[in-house]
């Protein structure tokens, strides 16, 4: 019983994610991507482009929090037989992302309604 209680507590703990983490989770949702692909998806249209120096710490962070997982890819000839890591979103990651997205939608809706009142719209 006490074990179960501890685990429940852990699950109930809030998972804090940054905007970059949220972006990475959004990119990885429903897909398996390696680092360079993630960068390719993230950088177009981004005001400050992300490099390897900020991507790898973010991936490590998400992995440590249990929001993403990875699998080894095939050996690459061009890189002397080195393998790539393909990242995907975990269930916890998906739920955290959906919570954040719901909150954002709510925030947007609230802003829209308040804006209408302020500008005298119907």
């Amino acid at each position: 019983m006490p074990k179960k209680n501890d685990e429940a507590k852990k699950n109930d703990e809030l998972v804090r994610i940054s905007s970059l983490d949220e972006d990475i989770l959004t990119v990885l949702l429903g897909r398996k991507l390696y680092g360079l692909e993630i960068l390719d998806d993230l950088n177009p249209g981004r005001p400050i482009p992300i490099s390897f120096g900020s991507l790898y710490p973010a991936l490590n962070r998400l992995e440590k929090k249990g929001l993403i997982s990875w699998v080894w890819g095939d050996e690459q000839e061009g890189s002397g037989g080195a393998r790539r890591k393909y990242y995907k979103v975990t269930g916890l990651g998906a739920s955290v992302l959906s919570e954040v997205q719901q909150y954002r939608a709510l925030l947007a809706q609230r802003a829209a309604t308040q804006g209408q009142i302020a500008w005298g719209g119907s």
Partner: protein
């Protein structure tokens, strides 16, 4: 996955690179040190040294003509200018001994002057001390006397007070016992005849006098001065009245007698009258002399009382004048001493400046700069050429020292030793250059031998996925047909970023991030 063979190969590659880099750094530092040493042993241009030494010899040779000497000097200056030798050095070094001697002489003079001044000052101080003591004693004496005088004054005041009271009493007594009867008697006795004609005047005078004394007595504020004034006035009154009355009477009698004598020839009556005239004259004299006795006594008493403090005052005045004279003299002495002290201070300052100058010149003499040494050695003309070559290795001072004193054998020995040393240094330099070059060649060859690309060479330092990603990036850049140097630059930037992220940022963040064991249950 990268196989273990390549990993080991890469490790060896990095090891050998590190070794080569270390050895290159070592050899480079050794090379620079040897280069410096060889530069120290570098021989100066023998040609110009020879020329300059010859010119100096000509210049110093007394047998050569003046023109030749001038030419030689010009050549020395020209050569010195060409080789940036400071000829100021020659001047200072050759003149410095003379300058030191002059300065020392000056210093001795000033020091003797200072000694003299110090002696004079001591004497003056002694004199002043003595004068001060005498002055002090004089002042003390004067003060004592002043105190005595004050005491005496107080006593005198007391005495005067008592005297005043006594005078008052005496005056009352005189007035009651002597004055009225005295005046009455005196006037009655001496002025019976005179007052026959002037009875009214006598009465008036007496009344006035009595009134005045009565008034002053009634006031009871009769001090000595007023008493003396009154007495003087009274005596004057008495004199004037009595004398005038007597005189007028006598003169009228005389005039009458003269008239009688003039009108009538001298007869028995005339003789009588002449006799009367004589007696009248005597009376006038008597009256003139006549004054109340008690008045004379009083005046004399007062004069005596006043004379004593006056004498004391005069004495004190004299002493004070003496003391003032002494003070003036002391001031003069002090002024003289301040002048002497100023002179002493000035001489001390002069000594200090001279000492500083001597030190400066001595320092110049002790540690000459290379140019000075060189030119000095040249000027000394006995200096062999090779001593100049040794100046850097054995130090300037030593060169300077040996340049003048060494004998030929020692010079040769020294030269041999230092030429040997210089050869050793050159050999070492050559060896270090060879080693450095071989190491560089080895490094280049090693670089050429390795077929693994730069990104893959970092497999020893970065995780596998990072290398794979960098490889993918490189392939993409090649496909995009970017410049070779740009690809290298981008890759190097990425390598640096990943190294930073992996070794520093991720390591720091892992300290507060949960371990993988604490993964969320939802995944399972």
């Amino acid at each position: 996955m990268i196989n273990q063979q390549t990993q080991q190969k890469l490790k060896r590659l990095w090891m050998s690179r590190a070794l080569l880099a270390g050895s290159i750094i070592l050899s480079l530092s050794f090379l620079t040190s040897r280069l410096h040493a060889v530069q120290d042993y570098r021989l100066p241009d023998p040609k110009w040294v020879h020329q300059i030494s010859e010119a100096v010899e000509d210049w110093e040779n007394p047998t050569t003509s003046k023109e030749a000497q001038e030419k030689a000097l010009e050549q020395v200056f020209k050569l010195a200018q060409q080789h940036k030798l400071s000829l100021k050095g020659t001047l200072t070094s050759s003149l410095s001994t003379l300058l030191i001697e002059d300065l020392k002489q000056e210093l001795n003079q000033v020091e003797s002057q200072e000694k003299h001044l110090v002696d004079v000052r001591k004497q003056h101080r002694k004199e002043l001390q003595r004068q001060k003591q005498s002055y002090k004693s004089n002042v003390e004496k004067a003060l004592e006397q002043v105190q005595k005088l004050i005491v005496a004054r107080r006593q005198e005041a007391h005495v005067l007070q008592t005297q005043k009271q006594e005078i008052k009493r005496g005056l009352r007594k005189k007035l009651t016992y002597d004055f009225y009867p005295g005046i009455e008697q005196g006037l009655r006795l001496d002025l019976i005849e005179a007052l026959e004609h002037t009875k009214a005047g006598e009465q008036v005078f007496l009344e006035k006098l009595v009134q005045r004394f009565q008034q002053s007595l009634a006031q009871e504020a009769l001090d000595t001065k007023t008493v003396t004034d009154i007495l003087e006035e009274a005596s004057e009154w008495a004199e004037t009245w009595s004398k005038e009355a007597e005189l007028s009477k006598a003169q009228s009698q005389l005039s009458k007698l003269r008239l009688a004598m003039a009108i009538k020839p001298p007869t028995e009556q005339n003789d009588k009258r002449f006799k009367e005239e004589e007696t009248l004259r005597k009376k006038i004299l008597k009256l003139k002399k006549m004054q109340p006795a008690w008045l004379r006594e009083l005046a004399s008493a007062l004069e005596i009382d006043l004379a004593q403090p006056r004498a004391l005052e005069q004495q004190l005045k004299q002493k004070l004048e003496d003391a003032l004279d002494q003070v003036k003299q002391l001031e003069k002495e002090l002024k003289q001493e301040t002048v002497q002290e100023q002179a002493l201070i000035a001489s001390q300052a002069q000594i200090a400046t001279l000492k500083a100058k001597v030190k400066k010149v001595q320092k110049l003499e002790e540690i000459p700069n290379p140019e000075q040494v060189l030119v000095r050695l040249l000027v000394d003309k006995r200096t062999p050429q090779y001593v100049i070559t040794l100046r850097r290795s054995i130090g300037y001072e030593l060169a300077h020292k040996y340049g003048q004193k060494l004998k030929s054998k020692e010079e040769i020995k020294l030269s041999l030793v230092y030429t040997q040393k210089s050869y050793q240094e050159i050999v070492l330099l050559a060896c270090s250059v060879v080693i450095f070059l071989t190491l560089v060649i080895l490094l280049v060859r090693q670089q050429k031998q390795t077929s693994i690309y730069l990104t893959n060479q970092f497999i020893c330092f970065l995780p596998e996925e990072y290398i794979a990603e960098l490889g993918a990036l490189r392939e993409r850049l090649i496909q995009e047909k970017r410049a070779h140097w740009l690809i290298r630059l981008i890759l190097l930037k990425c390598i640096a970023e990943t190294l930073w992220a992996f070794y520093i940022q991720i390591t720091i963040e892992n300290t507060w991030l949960p371990n993988k064991a604490n993964a969320r249950r939802i995944d399972k």
